[in-house]
Symmetry: C2
Subunit: 268 residues, 2 copies
């Protein structure tokens, strides 16, 4: 039964096979569309001194920062998220930050690992996007072959220690009946940002022009469509950048951690 689900759900590998490809250097780029059916996650690695504040930041802002797992200090493993999972090698590509500046994009961080590092894995909208597509709903940026539109809003996250910043949202346009359906579906995925945070009036959340996203690419929004806004995993990255930490490691954009968790199992 389990074996059969894995077969049908994974035309392009399993969570484990993608991690092993990344570890061996056979995969060094984006993970989207790989290991379909398996939940992917954003990665944040911080020294223990900052990790406690960041954990409280995530706790206070669960829509942009749904925590799938947190390592023991010094451990790169998260057995609850994947067999043999090693955060030092199992993502295709990383970003290394020093004093808030990007200093490298290695494919392995074993040489940078320290006994005081804590890894955070944060849920990702890929999980609910699969559910939207399975329900027959379009995802405009997927149809257009571009990245999702993301915007910094005028809504502030609840701060914690040195972490603060705006809520960043992703936007997907839908006709009204499909917007309702998309709300119903994504509400079942709190571990992947959950229900939208806004619908309909971008200016109410500080977005002046849907054609000029702060991250990602613009997509068409037709006259009979409502823009629907979800909390976005770029939010914690913006908070980390704003904090100008002495040292941090994140995943490189699009190169996520692929877990052994089935996205459908994350649904309420």
């Amino acid at each position: 039964m389990l074996a059969r689900r894995f077969e049908t759900a994974t035309p392009r590998g399993t969570g484990l096979s993608v991690r092993l490809d990344a570890r061996a250097g056979r995969l060094t780029g984006p993970t989207s569309a790989l290991a379909r059916g398996f939940a992917q996650g954003n990665l944040v690695i911080l020294p223990k001194a900052d990790a406690d504040d960041f954990l409280r930041f995530c706790q206070r802002n669960p829509k942009p920062c749904p925590l799938l797992g947190v390592t023991e200090p010094g451990s790169p493993h998260l057995p609850a998220l994947g067999i043999d999972l090693d955060l030092r090698s199992d993502l295709p590509r990383y970003r290394v930050w020093r004093d808030g500046e990007l200093v490298g994009e290695p494919t392995d961080i074993a040489a940078l690992w320290r006994d005081d590092l804590v890894g955070f894995v944060i849920g990702c909208s890929f999980s609910f996007e699969e559910a939207l597509l399975a329900d027959g709903l379009e995802i405009r940026n997927v149809s257009a072959g571009v990245n999702v539109s993301m915007f910094r809003t005028s809504l502030d996250c609840a701060p914690a220690g040195r972490f603060h910043g705006p809520l960043v949202v992703s936007m997907r346009p839908y006709r009204p009946a499909d917007a309702i359906r998309a709300i119903q579906i994504t509400a079942r995925f709190p571990a992947a940002h959950g229900a939208p945070v806004h619908i309909g009036f971008p200016e109410m959340i500080g977005i002046a022009d849907l054609g000029r996203p702060d991250y990602g690419d613009a997509v068409a929004v037709h006259d009979d469509e409502l823009p629907v806004f979800w909390a976005c995993g770029v939010t914690p990255q913006a908070a980390i950048a704003a904090a100008r930490l002495p040292f941090a490691i994140t995943h490189a954009p699009g190169s996520m951690l692929v877990t052994d968790l089935l996205s459908s199992r994350m649904a309420l």
Copy 2:
């Protein structure tokens, strides 16, 4: 445990006490705000010859016509919906229709009962409105002390036999974040019309002017609010009127059947 729930949920009687008041003639008007916590239902009574078509109409249009119960032909009882429930006497007021015309509004229909009559009880938005209020959301028409705005749409119901007609919707305005929350909440109540059918663009469903509802009263819709539209229990009444049946009985507007079902137990 059960007794305690009844106590807290029913500052204004129970389903049974309201039905007994109606039966005794102590209650002859609207049931809104009575027996809070107990689900109320729309009533339709038809001769068996029409009842089969109407049952298929309800089955094909579950959002406007969520069936809570259907009697055996000739029986006025629905024990699954209430102890000692008698459809001939337990509603405060009825409407009697002949050849599509309203011919009377009695408080008891025992003298009209026939061996071939079938009673239908259809879920009502009161059940989800209680959940919206409990969640801290406003219901504009409740705040304003008027009836909800209802509109005939350009969306057709799926016909069945002689029954056909437009989908009728109720409208409640919400700011975007509250609209999302209202969708999440009402989606849990498929037996009370469930998730909305439309949000945002009234003209897309054939509504020219929100200020001129086809039934009920107009309410203010502010610039920062989206109109949200739910399928409405007036839909089957409109289909019955359009069918110009030789004989039918319905509840009088607002004078519903109060059941023993707890609304919260109807939620997914």
